[in-house]
Structures are given as structure tokens and as C-alpha cells.
Symmetry: C2
Subunit: 267 residues, 2 copies
């Protein structure tokens, strides 16, 4: 039987609210996700929250009902609450019907099976959580094997990243490694490392991509360091016809990724 | 000679800070942009701020110097200030070196020359300012003639949209219209209206695009209404291999736009 919490001062509310900060996420090993669409995507991927908060007037919605049942069956706690509390937890004026608190999960580089997919995304020192989430959403769409975060990237479990991923955080494997670990792992098996660069003459449509292709996107402001570009099998550029010299990192990643996919679709 | 402001209580600081709200932007006809890269891009496009705020220790930087000179030469005011004030104006913990206050500008649909570019972007009921700014940045990159905002879109002059555009707001024409106005204008001349849809069997690479191509992207959550899809010359879909059913709107727009550009590059 779900308990009800409607007081801002409740210790659990404070604790969950604190998960908006990276420090508390690390201490607790928990993170926040919100919205019926994302939590349902998580459930379909077999991810069940430790705590599920839902708006009282949504309790009879079939998807909310499914989430409550799954949470309680797995030993988690479903908690009835109100829009004010949900708004406080999600940090949004118009909160979704549900907020879930999930255990963080991570995949070791050594557990990735590179033969499982023809395309993999790799990002180094990605700073913007919206970009990270959007890249995860794109990774899902192109059927990527996963996203490998190299060196000091923004936290994939931040509220903004989870939100921008629209649930892909739960379905796309995310591994974290420093450059040396990644390079060692990559070269221990087959794989073409393709770097997106502004300092190359090779058009992204002129290159031929071989599976498994690892698409490397560099830091938003600086791109990738020279030594990483040198370690790539090939660096390619996307044509830029305007006044600016670069695309948004998530946009560039997607334009590249669809080119690789399209080459494969042509056979 | 620039004046100096270091007091939060200064009326101009309060007034400028208020430009973060749409209501005040509409009343004043002014908006905020921040960062040396974006303000320099604006200057190169001939856009000069009414007020330029800069950090005292950056006054000797050549790009800041150029901005001060241009602002004063055009009758605007350059104001020396500190990091705390810049942070308050920009809403960021790590503010850039400069914040500019610009007069809003807008382009009438009837002033757009559709023969000036082979690709135009059109978005209807776009809700996210980051998406709007990112689409502007992409529009610049592909050499689009402009962005047409149909019906109730988010404000292109919001701080978030300007930031995400990375200066493209100053270089890419933006027109606003309701659907009836847009449809009437479009059909008064040549133009292929291509709608991005989830409800079509036509692969985006199977279609042939004719200049001027108008790429229509629908609302983030709902896509475009059926009557708009029906008004398109063709609707196309981007392949989705994953669990989710849609891409981020700015990502989908960019993937489509590069396909149109790539077809043109092949001749």
C-alpha cells in the first residue's frame, strides 16, 4: 500500500531533491528521472526505481499503475504525492506525473561487445548535459552499440542529461574511461576510429566507414586534442557553408552517425 | 569615455537584467547577448549593441576594444563593470567577458527572397529555446536562406536561444508568421515544402529535393498537425532503428538539411 507524502520537510523529499547535485548522486549511487514517457521506457528496459513518486490524480492512469506495480513487486516504494512536491523534485514548473529514483548503473569498457553493433559513439570531455542526453537519444535511433565517454565528461546521470535522452539513458550502454584505457581497449580488437575535426580536408561523405565504426566527437569549445586526432584512423569534416566554423556537438555527431548508417543501408 | 557601474542597485543593471523576461523584451524592444564570440559575430554582421558591458580586466583585449569602439561610434554606450555584475546579467556563474543589449530585429515574410538560397528551414510551434538556437546555428552551417517560425514558437530573442545559436541569430534571417500567412506566401512562388514526419513510408534519402526546398519541422512533443502534413508536397521520415520513436527536433532538422545539401553537392 503506497504511503503518501505531501510535506516539503519530509526527510525523503529532501534526500531525493539533493540528487539534483552530483555530489549527492555519487554518495547515494542514485539518480532522478521524471516523466511518464521516460519512466515507461526505463521499465521496458527492465529498470525499476527504488522510489516512485506519482501525482495522486494520476494513480489510475494505466502506465502509472504499471509503474507502481513493478516498483512494489521489486521491493521499491511507491509514494503518492502532489504537484508541488513533484515540481520541487523535478525542478520544473510543470512537472510530469511521475518522478523515479534509480540506482546508478555503469558498463565497464571490457564488458562492451564491439561485434554487437556496427556503430559506436565516443565523446571526449563533453561539457553540456543536454548534448550528452541528445547524443544518447541519437545513439538509440541509429542502433549504436553504446556511448563511450572519454576523460572528464559531464555526468550522464544529471537531471538535464536524463531528460534530454528521453529515456535512451536506460537503453543505450554508457561506458566511461580515460583516453589511455579507451585507446588500449579499442586497439585490442577490430574497429575504425573516425574523428570529427575542423582541421582536415576529408569530406565526411568521401570516407568509407568500416564496422565497427567508432565515431569520436571532441569537446564543444575546443574539439579534440591533436594527439587524439592523430590516433584516429581517419579524421573527417562536415561541410560548413556559413559564417560560423562549427556545428553544435550533438548535431555534428548525428549528421556523421547518419552518414555511417546511410552507407551501410546502401550496402 | 566609458562609465563604470559596479552596483547591483544601479537602475540600468536592473533594467538590463529584466530583459531575461519576455515581457520586458517586448516592452523595450531589446534583448541580451553574451560572450566575446557571439558579440564579435554580431559586429561582423553589422549589429551593434545599444549598451555594451565589459569586464574591466578585459578592456585591453583587441576584440573587446573593437566592440567598445564600434558601440561608441554608433552612439551606444560602453560600460565597464565586474564579473559579479556580468554574472548577474548573463545568469551564468562563469560569465563571458562581455554582455550586449541589442535592439530586436525581425524580417517580414514578404521581405524574404526565396531565390537567394536553395534551402530554407521552417519550424512550427517549436517550444524549446535551445532547439531554436541550435536550428539557427545549423541554418547558418548549411547556407540556409533563413528560418521561418510558424504559429506559436518560443521567442528567438530569449537568452537561451541566442546562446545556443552561437551568433547565428545575428546572421540568419528569422521571420515569424502564422500558418495561413506562411502557406499563402509559399504558394505564391516556387518552392517544395518537405515535412518531417513519423507517419510516412518515404525514406528521407529516397525523395528528390528541388530548390528552393522548405524543410518543415513540427512541434517537439506532437509533431506537425495532419493538415500541415497534408499541405506538404512530400513528407519524409528518417530511419529509426532503436526503441524510441523520434529524434530531438533540432537533430532531425539537421540530418534532413544535410541530406538536401548533400543531394545538391552531388549535382
Amino acid at each position: 500500500m503506497p504511503r503518501e507524502i505531501t510535506a516539503f520537510s519530509n526527510p525523503l523529499i529532501k534526500r531525493v531533491r539533493n540528487l539534483r547535485d552530483k555530489k549527492h548522486r555519487r554518495e547515494e549511487g542514485l539518480f532522478l528521472a521524471e516523466g511518464l514517457r521516460i519512466l515507461t521506457e526505463a521499465l521496458e528496459a527492465g529498470r525499476i526505481p527504488d522510489y516512485l513518486f506519482y501525482a495522486r490524480d494520476m494513480a489510475t492512469h494505466s502506465l502509472v499503475h504499471d509503474l507502481i506495480d513493478a516498483t512494489e513487486a521489486a521491493g521499491g516504494e511507491a509514494i503518492e504525492t502532489n504537484a508541488d512536491i513533484l515540481s520541487k523534485l523535478s525542478g520544473k514548473d510543470n512537472p510530469g506525473a511521475v518522478v523515479g529514483v534509480y540506482p546508478e548503473f555503469t558498463v565497464a569498457l571490457s564488458d562492451l561487445d564491439r561485434s554487437a553493433a556496427p556503430i559506436w559513439l565516443v565523446a571526449e570531455r563533453l561539457r553540456d548535459p543536454g548534448n550528452l542526453g541528445t547524443i544518447l537519444r541519437t545513439a538509440d535511433a541509429i542502433g549504436a552499440g553504446g556511448l563511450i565517454l572519454v576523460d572528464d565528461c559531464v555526468d550522464p546521470f544529471s537531471v538535464e542529461a536524463v531528460r534530454a535522452s528521453m529515456g535512451a539513458l536506460f537503453t543505450v550502454p554508457v561506458a566511461r574511461a580515460n583516453w589511455a584505457e579507451f585507446a588500449t581497449w579499442l586497439r585490442a580488437g577490430p574497429g575504425q576510429l573516425v574523428g570529427l575535426s575542423l582541421d582536415t580536408e576529408v569530406d565526411y561523405q568521401a570516407a568509407r566507414y568500416e564496422a565497427p565504426t567508432f565515431l569520436l566527437t571532441g569537446n564543444e569549445a575546443q574539439g579534440m586534442p591533436d594527439f587524439m586526432a592523430a590516433a584516429c584512423d581517419i579524421t573527417v569534416k562536415i561541410p560548413m557553408l556559413g559564417k560560423a566554423d562549427s556545428l553544435n556537438a550533438a548535431i555534428a555527431t548525428a549528421v556523421m552517425a547518419y552518414e555511417v548508417l546511410n552507407q551501410r543501408r546502401r550496402g
